[in-house]
C-alpha cells in the first residue's frame, strides 16, 4: 500500500520541507522531516526508509556529509537518494564522487518532484 512508503526529507528550509511533505502526503506517502544532516542521520538509523530526499546546503551537517555516511554504511548503502541542489551551483553528485539516483535543482515544481519520487519508489 502506498501509505506504507516512508520517505525522509532532510531540508532545513521549512517552507520547502513543508511543501514537499504536503505534496507527497497527498500522493499517499508518509513523510518525515529532518531539519539538518545530523537529525537525518539519527532518523536513518532508527527505522527503514524507501527514499531519502536530501538538500545539499544544510546547517550542522550538509547533504554531502549525509550522503557519504549513507553510502559508507552497509545497512544504508542501497537507499535511493534524491538530491536537491541549487540551480547552477555545481552542487552535482559527481562533485562528491558519490552515487545518487536522482537530483533536482531548486527552485523546483512540487508536481515534478512528486513524479520523480513516484518513478523512484512507486506509488
Amino acid at each position: 500500500l502506498s501509505n506504507t512508503i516512508d520517505i525522509l526529507v532532510a531540508e532545513d528550509e521549512e517552507h520547502i520541507a513543508k511543501l514537499i511533505a504536503f505534496k507527497l502526503n497527498k500522493e499517499g506517502y508518509r513523510v518525515t522531516i529532518a531539519k539538518n544532516g545530523q537529525e537525518a542521520i539519527e532518523l536513518l538509523a532508527k527505522q527503514s526508509w524507501k527514499l531519502l530526499i536530501l538538500d545539499v546546503m544544510m546547517p550542522v551537517m550538509d547533504g554531502f556529509a549525509v550522503l557519504k555516511t549513507v553510502r559508507w554504511t552497509p545497512a544504508l548503502a542501497e537507499l535511493p537518494v534524491l538530491l536537491l541542489t541549487a540551480k547552477g551551483k555545481g552542487e552535482s553528485p559527481d562533485m562528491a564522487g558519490l552515487r545518487v539516483e536522482q537530483y533536482l535543482k531548486k527552485p523546483f515544481d512540487p508536481a515534478h518532484l512528486a513524479q520523480v519520487v513516484k518513478s523512484m519508489v512507486g506509488s
Binding site: H15, K87, D109
Partner: protein, 133 residues
C-alpha cells in the same frame, strides 16, 4: 523548473503554506534592512540570504524574486569585495522585490525591467539568472 502553476487556493493547507511563506518575507526584509545599516558590505549574509530565498521563491510563485536573488548571488560570488554603492543598490533591489512579493505581486514588470537587475545579471555573468532549467 518545469512550469506547472500551483493553484494555491485549491486546498486550505496549501493556501496556509503560501501565507506562511509570504509572512516569512517580513523577517527576510528585516535582514535586508539590517544589512543596509552596516558600513562594510555583509557579503556572506547577502549570499546566504539570496541563496536560500532564491531556492524557494519561484516554487511559491515569485519568479522575479528568485531571478533577483540568483543575480545577486552570482554577482557576489564573482566579486567578494563589491563596490559599496553597487552593493547598496543590489540590496535596494532585493528590498523592492521582497516588498513586491509580500504584496503578492509575483512578477512585477518594473522589477524585471529594473536597470539594477540588468547590471547584476551582466556583472554576475551567469546563464542561470533569468533562465529557467
Amino acid at each position: 523548473m518545469t512550469k506547472q502553476r500551483i493553484d494555491w487556493s485549491s486546498d486550505p493547507e496549501l493556501a496556509q503554506l503560501r501565507d506562511d511563506f509570504i509572512g516569512s518575507l517580513k523577517h527576510r526584509l528585516a535582514q535586508v534592512k539590517q544589512m543596509q545599516k552596516t558600513q562594510a558590505p555583509d557579503v556572506d549574509g547577502a549570499v546566504e540570504l539570496s541563496h536560500k530565498l532564491g531556492g524557494i521563491a519561484e516554487t511559491y510563485g515569485f519568479e522575479a524574486l528568485t531571478t533577483i536573488c540568483t543575480a545577486i548571488e552570482d554577482w557576489l560570488e564573482k566579486d567578494s569585495k563589491p563596490d559599496t554603492i553597487r552593493f547598496r543598490e543590489a540590496l535596494e533591489l532585493l528590498e523592492a522585490a521582497l516588498l513586491s512579493a509580500a504584496q503578492t505581486r509575483a512578477n512585477s514588470t518594473e522589477l524585471a525591467q529594473d536597470k539594477r537587475l540588468a547590471w547584476l545579471i551582466s556583472a554576475g555573468g551567469s546563464s542561470r539568472a533569468g533562465s529557467k532549467t
